[in-house]
Symmetry: C2
Subunit: 194 residues, 2 copies
């Protein structure tokens, strides 16, 4: 059941049989339908997720409208850091935007895993590090790039997302209206063709 | 020498004498003058910092002009995550904006510490977690708030920064010109007084 996860972890460290068995026992796989909400702001997060299939949208509620900040795909950890660490209500929400499968690490499961083997402490760090890198890249992109540049960056680094993600979420991710996104696309593809 | 650090770590876990001795041996304290650059984009980061005194500005170079993304003060870890983890050139730069003292964890020192005690694995995770929380809060603020709202947020959560940080960096952090910052300030303080 946890093959994908073990394969991912193998990039960093190998697990012995009892560690794999512990993962099998304590990590649960959960399926979410397209558009299903995984976690909602205002709640206290006590789970970390690992995406094994599908696509998860991170969004924030801004006066009743939602703003997309990121899309997680296969092989990424998801963690509402402050809420998970300090038990405060989360600011972020997560939604499956395709049929999605996640491995769910609950807080008690993580505690159990950490008791069983210190290798899981390393894995916990890797999970947090990966989420940190995602976040630092989001910030760099926000601070240094225009909407059009962010569109081109997304196209170059993660072009397949455009097939998977509804256009209104791409627009919201870029902080522009769907109409402006259409204009940006036209400009970018005109440039590419010329 | 490492008292501040041990005190900070004590919020999470206690260290025995040999662990404190290992910190004394492998972590070096470094002083930076006001305006001194600590780390520059384009280099590969092989250090994690812990601020024990002063204030550090995180900034990005945008076509020759710099844009401020965050201010770190006492008790915070600083890590250029992607560069440190994957040995790629960093996008971010760090500058001391007051006389600043940092504990510097070099990569070889971290490896040594991790060999000595698994407690340091936990501490490494805490460091990364703290940086993650900072980053997730920056993103939430960027995505959900206007420049004026971000000004008010900074004032409420970290008001003393206004005494410490030159106004042009505050403006750059908010993504506005110094003139717009003056107008924002006037509006905010008129509202407060009324």
């Amino acid at each position: 059941m946890v093959e994908n996860l073990v394969e991912y972890i193998a990039h960093y460290t190998s697990l012995n049989d009892s560690e794999v068995a512990a993962l099998e026992r304590f990590v649960k796989k959960q399926h979410f339908e397209k558009n299903e909400i995984i976690f909602t702001e205002g709640k206290v997060s006590n789970e970390i997720y690992f995406v094994t299939k599908g696509c998860v949208r991170l969004f924030y509620n801004v006066e009743g409208r939602d703003r997309t900040a990121f899309f997680y795909t296969e092989g990424q950890f998801i963690c509402a850091g402050e809420s998970f660490t300090f038990h405060v209500p989360a600011k972020e929400s997560y939604q499956a935007i395709e049929g999605t499968e996640l491995y769910v690490f609950s807080k008690p499961s993580i505690d159990k895993l950490l008791e069983i083997s210190s290798t899981f402490e390393l894995i916990a760090r890797i999970a947090v590090e990966n989420e940190l890198i995602v976040c630092q890249n989001i910030i760099a992109s926000f601070v240094t790039k225009s909407a059009e540049e962010r569109y081109v960056e997304l196209l170059e680094t993660n072009g397949e997302l455009f097939q998977r993600v509804p256009q209104q979420y791409i627009a919201s991710f870029l902080g522009v209206s769907p109409e402006t996104l259409s204009r940006i696309k036209k400009r970018v593809f005109t440039k590419k063709d010329s």
